[in-house]
Amino acid sequence: MNPNVPDDSAAASRYAIEAVAEITHVSRRLIVVYCQHGLISPVATPEESGWLFDEEAIHRLRHIEHLRTEYGMNMAGVRMMLEMLGELEQLREEVRFRRGG
């Protein structure tokens, strides 16, 4: 390990779909399917500058794969789970914000 060398490759990075596929071992086709189902979304519109994703999308893809392989969830189940977790996160933030006041 090289200490104290700035590891800023992670800062505000954008990943092309090929890179995302390589990092997550999820095929490009499946990534597109997930996008079509609204489970993940690219940061830029595909027509504008191609399929670009951020770190959140990579994290989400890992999460989706985990739910599918570990818990045997189907697409509908994954979608419901992600929606519920998203809502929970929002509510937590709201509570945090209000408590801080």
Binding site: A10, A11, I23, E56, R99, G100
Partner: protein, 332 residues
């Protein structure tokens, strides 16, 4: 590596029976005193500020506070946490009871104790299908498996989120089989405009792979430190401004602190309690766009609790002279 118990009540100078209001008050007072931007001895103040924030994070949340109080009651001196019958301790074990690879961070702004019991993200093993198989007969032998991703929290002050910063992190890992400890040091860039809950991916700093598999990634989840003056919501900031009743009625010019310098704000006549006055582009940066969120000044009308005879007389006069009826709606 058992985490040492943290006495959050002592950190905030409170008794165990402190009310929510007392916790908030004490936090604000101490956060102002030790805020890295204000304090003279920056290094000591920074440490203290982090401790205060961590204590506040737990004690200001009724659910976390309850858990903390229960932990305290079950804590053994020197021996760490004694789980109640039927429960299992923290994140140090896999489902089958074998010890998992342990991680221990420094530089994230949170203690091991916090990470173990209150880390919001937990240590999920995304990306490692079937973490439990590692120790079974065929698991791992010869088959390349990618290492697990690790999640941790990182405390970021509003000022750091404003400008962006580089944070040195050191991570110690201990292999549960050999007991061998290793330290990895690296620097993580917190981009300007990092919002609460955002995950920063550090490639290859997760758990090691097996059978020649690559290492997993480390995800650090940004937790914005509570600020004595501002509450963030996305890129917007909220500032509670206390006003005297006559200031709210007649209007006033006030100076409010901003993250990039004091701001003059005009309170218009007839400002209601809770009313929000927007100051454009005085919030946190929005990504790399160069735009900034807004600052909302929230009016909070304070009622005087003590008054002189002369003051009382004036209020009495106002009562007689005024035609204002706050309950006129309910009479029609």
């Amino acid at each position: 590596m058992p985490a040492a118990f943290k006495d959050y009540y002592t950190t905030l100078g409170l008794s165990k029976s402190a009310t929510e209001v007392e916790i908030k008050k004490s936090f604000r007072k101490l956060a102002r005193k030790y805020h890295p931007d204000v304090a003279k001895d920056k290094k000591t103040a920074e440490e203290k500020f982090k401790e205060i924030n961590e204590a506040n994070e737990v004690l200001s949340d009724p659910v976390k506070r309850k858990k903390y109080d229960e932990l305290g009651a079950n804590w053994q001196d020197g021996g760490g946490y004694r789980p109640p019958p039927g429960g299992r301790a923290g994140a140090g074990h896999r489902a089958d009871g074998t010890p998992a690879q342990e991680f221990h961070f420094e530089g994230t702004g949170f203690s091991d104790f916090f990470e173990q019991f209150f880390g919001g993200a937990g240590r999920r093993n995304y990306g490692f299908p079937s973490g439990e198989q590692e120790f079974t007969a065929d698991g791992g032998a010869g088959r390349a498996r990618r290492g697990a991703d690790i999640e941790g929290d990182i405390l970021v002050t509003l000022e750091e989120a404003m400008l962006g910063t580089m944070r040195p992190i050191s991570m110690q890992t201990a292999d549960p089989r050999s007991g061998k400890a290793e330290t990895h040091s690296f620097t993580v860039r917190i981009p300007a405009g990092a919002t609460d809950g955002r995950r920063i991916r550090v490639p290859g700093k997760g758990a090691e792979g097996t059978g020649g598999g690559v290492a997993g990634d480390l995800y650090l989840r940004v937790r914005l430190a509570a600020h004595p003056d501002f509450r963030p919501r996305g890129a917007d900031l909220y500032y509670d401004l206390d006003l005297a009743p006559w200031e709210a009625v007649l209007g006033e010019q006030v100076i409010v602190p901003g993250l990039s310098g004091a701001i003059k704000v005009r309170i218009p006549p007839g400002t209601a309690s809770g009313q929000q006055l927007r100051v454009r582009a005085q919030g946190l940066p929005i990504g790399k766009s160069g735009d900034r969120g807004d600052l909302y000044v929230v009016s909070n009308i304070q009622i005087p609790t003590e008054m002189t005879d002369a003051e009382r007389e004036l209020w009495e006069k106002l009562k007689v002279a005024s035609s204002f009826d706050p309950r006129s709606d309910s009479k029609t």
